[in-house]
């Protein structure tokens, strides 16, 4: 049988398993359409807040000598309301709307804005490592995670994903809390808190000093997180972190992810990366005689 790339992440069904990660090229419907045509199975929007945010001043992104990027864009975004209006015309693209907020009501209010939109899922950003009062600061507080996930699950029938990362509370506990509160899937991981200093001018380079490390350096860390989550919990997982080749994608499937997201690879290889990875996955599936992505999910745990 010819293999196909269809995958299910719990209630979410996608024609292709490689998505655009949140925050990368994620502010315009026209660009979403282009990425979808380029092979992305879904696009995750920039994390949206109740109000528009300008984000931090530049420099907001830094290219690490050893590979990867450190960014502190500071969650700049047009706000949920503006964004919802912009994507209203969307018919074709599976859009996953990423949300940040500090209290359950933030999320509830934002979801209301999207009532007229085709939304494939919501992704709760519980893991941005460089903005105060949202992201990781929320993810690190188990009580708050419980309240937010419960509230969001009560306000929508659209599937809800929690995105976790390395914070001060162990991400496995956050995953556990989210599952107890009814989450549909987990995205792991966000960027890892990091920094860079310029030796000539002797200053931190990013205007925010600290940022999030993404790209190839974090792949081995992200992979172990996916493996640890899938070993401990029975929950659909979306792997994210440093994926840039089809081999990387397969590693994440074998570790237990049903789909993957990528961002930094676009900065290195531009948007052709989606097609390259899709093609590589299909060839691998043919060689190993798999008909669907599911056939390989979690295989590395058997050994």
């Amino acid at each position: 049988m010819e293999p196909n790339l269809v995958t299910s992440i719990g209630p979410i069904r996608l024609d292709r398993p490689v998505m655009l990660a949140s925050g990368i090229l994620g502010i315009s419907l026209d660009v979403f359409n282009r990425l979808y045509r380029s092979g992305a199975g879904a696009v995750v929007t920039k994390s949206l807040s109740t109000e528009p945010w300008e984000g931090y001043p530049n420099p907001t992104i830094f290219s690490v000598k050893g590979g990867g990027w450190i960014n502190a864009v500071g969650l700049s975004n047009p706000g949920a309301e503006n964004f919802a209006k912009m994507i209203e015309p969307n018919k074709d693209v599976p859009i996953i709307v990423s949300l940040v907020g500090s209290i359950p009501e933030d999320f509830e209010n934002m979801i209301k804005q999207f009532e007229k939109c085709k939304v494939t899922a919501y992704e709760l950003n519980l893991s941005c490592p460089h903005v105060a009062k949202v992201g990781l600061e929320v993810g690190d507080d188990p009580e708050l995670v419980k309240k937010i996930v419960t509230t969001v699950k009560n306000s929508t029938n659209v599937p809800v994903i929690a995105k976790v990362g390395l914070g001060t509370t162990h991400y496995l506990n956050t995953v556990g809390t989210a599952i107890e509160s009814g989450i549909d899937a987990i995205t792991a991981i966000n960027t890892v808190r990091a920094m860079a200093i310029d030796v000539e001018t002797q200053r931190p380079i990013l205007s925010n000093k600290f940022g999030g490390l993404s790209g190839t350096p974090i792949k081995p860390i992200a992979l172990r997180c996916v493996y640890e989550i899938s070993s401990k919990y029975d929950i659909p997982i979306i792997g994210c972190g440093g994926i840039s080749t089809w081999e990387d994608a397969i590693e994440f499937f074998l570790a237990g992810a049903s789909a993957i997201q990528l961002g930094s690879a676009i900065g290195d290889n531009w948007i052709d990366v989606f097609d390259e990875i899709n093609t590589g996955i299909l060839q691998y599936m043919k060689k190993k005689n798999y008909s669907k992505i599911e056939d390989m999910v979690g295989l590395a745990k058997k050994s």
């Binding site: 502010i27 528009p52 420099p59 310029d198 531009w270």
Partner: protein
């Protein structure tokens, strides 16, 4: 080891030239930047202040390059205020460049949009017949007129300035001059960089006549490398797909000439 264009290189400003009360040119030594193509830009870090996209200006000394900056908000004013001896960080060059045609060429520039035009001029063939139109608000704001004449001294050429208030050169908008020139002679190509409305009208004038035209666009740029999405215009990313687009492509883009995105990514009218 070859330099990775994404890694910031620290350079020292060696010379500062006041072009107008609000525009300065800062010269520094950097082999890579001295050789960028017309239309390409750098991300320029002013330590402790900001980082912003800048077209790379030519220098008359080899191995050197420059930025010509108009002071505006925090970032550009920060760069404007950099003194001789101070260090700035540069990465790039980024973006594509103009497609150089031969024959009768029309170059249209306004303000710091003249920067890529000056770099274009060092690439024209001696056989090209080149007309440069410079638009400015008033006499105070005119710069690079002499430079353009000097760069074209071996060509059949004209450098024409127009000011909105008529305080220097011809009176009126430079786009009216464009319309006039295109209706009076047959040009082989038109190149434009400047305020969006100037580019929009120039592209319209040329494209409607079937003349090859290219514009180098500006949009909010945070990363410069195709990651952050802040520079999108329709489905294009100016930092990766541009900055240079041709008239054919632009005429289909609904945002060109009408909208740009602010720092939060919200569409705003021009």
């Amino acid at each position: 080891m070859q330099r990775n264009h994404n890694h910031t290189t620290i350079v020292t400003v060696e010379k500062v030239i006041d072009e107008t009360p609000t525009v300065r040119t800062l010269i520094f030594s950097d082999e890579v930047m001295s050789n960028v193509l017309p239309g390409q830009f750098a991300m320029v870090w002013i330590p402790g202040i900001n980082e912003l996209p800048m077209s790379v200006m030519i220098s008359n000394e080899s191995g050197k390059a420059a930025f010509t900056v108009r002071k505006h908000g925090a970032a550009s004013t920060g760069l404007f205020n950099v003194q001789v001896g101070q260090q700035i960080g540069i990465r790039g060059p980024y973006g594509n460049s103009f497609d150089l045609k031969e024959g009768k060429l029309l170059l249209v520039g306004g303000g710091t949009g003249l920067v890529p035009m000056m770099r274009l001029l060092i690439h024209v063939k001696p056989t090209d017949d080149v007309t440069v139109l410079i638009g400015a608000k008033s006499k105070d704001e005119v710069f690079f007129e002499d430079l353009a004449n000097r760069l074209l001294e071996n060509n059949v050429h004209k450098v024409i300035v127009s000011t909105d208030d008529g305080s220097y050169g011809e009176k009126g908008f430079v786009t009216d001059l464009v319309e006039k020139h295109l209706s009076q002679a047959k040009y082989d190509a038109v190149y434009v960089c400047g305020p969006e409305i100037m580019m929009y009208k120039t592209v319209q004038s040329a494209h409607s006549r079937g003349i090859f035209v290219q514009a180098s666009l500006e949009r909010m740029m945070k990363c410069g490398v195709g990651i952050c999405g802040s520079c999108c215009i329709g489905e294009d990313l100016v930092c990766k797909d541009g900055t240079v687009f041709d008239g054919e492509h632009l005429s289909k883009n609904k945002e060109f000439g009408n909208f740009h995105r602010n720092k939060a990514g919200i569409l705003e009218n021009y």
